[in-house]
Symmetry: none
Subunit: 170 residues, 4 copies
């Protein structure tokens, strides 16, 4: 891929992330192109379909979260990860209403990272032994989406997560 193409791909993803975060997945591809400073055709050259563009955003978003997770660990790495994810989600609703994109499937990317955090938390005794990855993921997804749709403030977020953390601690 040529360097200008590489640069444009990045710009488009950035623009798309912002646009879809603001306006939801129903926002027009034209607006993405406008914000990215490219012509509409360029967007479609990089992502032949709107759905593929949405999927690409989701993938990048999750990749970042996974990378983020990799830097955590210890007794409350999992808790930190939950907090950051919720904050992220509230900022970028993208994660949520990605119509037509298989969110659960894409979520697979996070399984390993979250699994590792869970293990460490269990080793440190912060999380009960019989808690398993699937419900942790389920709680993570739930709480992220709840935050997006609920418009939580910082305090509510804390109190909500506190309940979940208590539940995980048993």
């Amino acid at each position: 891929m040529r360097s200008d193409a590489q640069r444009n791909r990045g710009r488009i993803l950035d623009a798309a992330e912002e646009v879809f975060a603001r306006r939801g997945a129903a926002a027009s591809t034209e607006e993405v192109a406008r914000l990215a400073g490219v012509a509409i055709g360029t967007v479609f050259r990089h992502f032949p379909t709107k759905d593929e563009l949405l999927a690409a955003i989701l993938k990048r978003l999750l990749a970042r979260l996974a990378e983020d997770a990799a830097g955590l660990g210890g007794a409350d790495g999992l808790h930190t990860f939950f907090r950051r994810s919720v904050a992220q989600a509230a900022a970028k609703r993208t994660v949520v209403d990605l119509v037509g994109v298989s969110v659960p499937a894409a979520l697979g990317q996070l399984d390993d990272a979250v699994g590792e955090l869970l293990r460490q938390a269990q080793d440190a005794g912060t999380v009960r032994r019989d808690v398993r990855p699937p419900e942790v993921m389920a709680l993570l997804v739930s709480v992220c989406q709840g935050a997006v749709h609920g418009g939580w403030d910082a305090e509510l977020q804390d109190r909500t997560l506190a309940v979940i953390f208590a539940g995980l601690a048993g």
Copy 2:
């Protein structure tokens, strides 16, 4: 309002609930009309805007939940309510996808009912005293939306709720 108009209003809401549950909020108003067995103009006479139709569905859905809640109580009325809500949500994605409709605002309807269930649970000792309604609502919304987007099976739903119930119990 004439009786046939009354009847049509009901039919339209029923149809809308089903259509939007199946196809998401992006489904066309025409399809709603078709399923309701009325002409498109009739839909717009009753609900001048698609958003108003969506809001009406949401309102009715929440009213039902509130009514449902009113029939519960005791030590685990709150738990039962959570379980039913999640099951509902998974069946009818409607609650979730309602882009453009202020879900949190509409949610106000449930505050009282949930507040009451919470109080009873606390009186029975099933839920910690320092848990307050806002985070209960937040958890409820989260877990409903999580269920919708995650495609949980019965077991995952149980395990996920179990964590939350443990957290509420402290």
Copy 3:
């Protein structure tokens, strides 16, 4: 169907026939709408797809030819029919480049009429007994399309048909 809808359907077909005759099947549906004096949505309400519009034109065109054929007969009804068809085709290229529309299938409409003309011509001795409908249709189609693409003048058309008629006469 309401009377205005009926009227519009007719207008659209007329407009489409003219537009596609002039510009070929690649002409835009917008232009059809413009000429018909309706909005683009109306065209698509009547013919949900451009292909269906093209098919409808073709069908109507062939229906007219069949009707025309029904009024002919005798020793050289078939010859007259060939001549008229070729003249038609030259005027309206439509018959020809209807991409995406199964011309041969639609042509079925003419089979009966042409079969009847052929029988009469054979009874009158103008056409050999061993000539069968399929090749008559094949010749008809060929010569129509040839006329369209070749831009024949009246004399060339006569001389070309004369060869075919001689061939049919054996």
Copy 4:
């Protein structure tokens, strides 16, 4: 012209012939480039316009037919030529679909060759004396296009050509 340029020109024409034969003249130039194994820019360097590319194909196709004709002669050289042309046409719809390219003009290339075949056939007595080149060309074009659009099988093709040959024989 550099030798690689020469080679590319040939590859592009081959690819174009195949692509347009398969998909019709509406096929994209990109696909031609892909099949030719060159970049899209190269196609446009050689043929500044899609129409020029189509015209070039047509020209080459006709040149080949003319060359083919040159190898024929005698009593039924003309008949053989008709048969081969029709077979060709059915295989490669190209000849037909070339919208926007003046087929009749390009056809001029064949006039001499066909004229010669006609003369020989007339000398041999296989074709009537008063038949002239224009109608022979007209019949040839007609029958080629008929074959393409009609999807004739071998037998129908034989029977159809038989009528024409009989007509030419008078």
